[in-house]
């Protein structure tokens, strides 16, 4: 399978997942959505295995790393600020629901920071930190 065929397969899978999830959400069928995602993922794994051209290399890994760091910084900051706003707003208006959503979001931001710290520590050791 060449790169053009791989790209076509990727578009086809994305369309299949999108359409099936859309149908699943309108019919409120969670199982169908889940099945579509799992089938799509399995199909993409098969396609990747059959593709002979190199799809990922050091440059794409560097790009992925930079994008991940960027996404982490933006996402965590946004979620942390939003949770702070919701907690303060909930407290001021006496709305327990808003405050709860804010608390949940703040824990999500903390989880994100924890995962980043742990994975950083792991990869730091993996790439030869001596401490």
């Amino acid at each position: 399978m060449n790169f053009k065929q791989f790209k076509l397969a990727r578009i086809f899978v994305a369309m299949f997942i999108g359409a099936t999830v859309a149908i699943a959400s309108t019919t409120e069928n969670t199982l169908l959505a889940l099945a579509a995602v799992v089938i799509g993922m399995a199909f993409m794994i098969l396609v990747r295995k059959r593709t002979k051209v190199i799809l990922s290399d050091e440059r794409t890994e560097k790009i992925a790393g930079t994008s991940a760091r960027f996404t982490y910084a933006i996402h965590t900051t946004f979620i942390a600020l939003l949770s702070l706003f919701l907690i303060i707003n909930g407290k001021n208006t006496g709305d327990a629901f808003t405050e709860s959503v804010g608390t949940v979001l703040s824990f999500t931001a903390l989880l994100s920071v924890a995962i980043y710290a742990l994975s950083y520590q792991y990869f730091n050791k993996f790439y030869g930190d001596d401490q």
Binding site: V53, I54, L55, S56, D57, E58, R59, T60, K62
Partner: protein, 69 residues
Amino acid sequence: MEMTNNLKILRAKHNLTQEDLAEKVGVTRQTIFAIEKNKYSPTLELAFKLSKLFNLPIEEIFKYNVHQE
């Protein structure tokens, strides 16, 4: 960019397309394009692979221009 290279010239000398070279050193065609345009500095491993392929020392493929302040 402080790094420059002769990759395009060497590739032409050896009658290789970007795709051929990419396949020989195990990277994507886009990476070869990015290196040629000085938009991406390859890892030492890739630099050695290219050096071995063209049978030239790394310094003859890649040039590091030191800016004096």
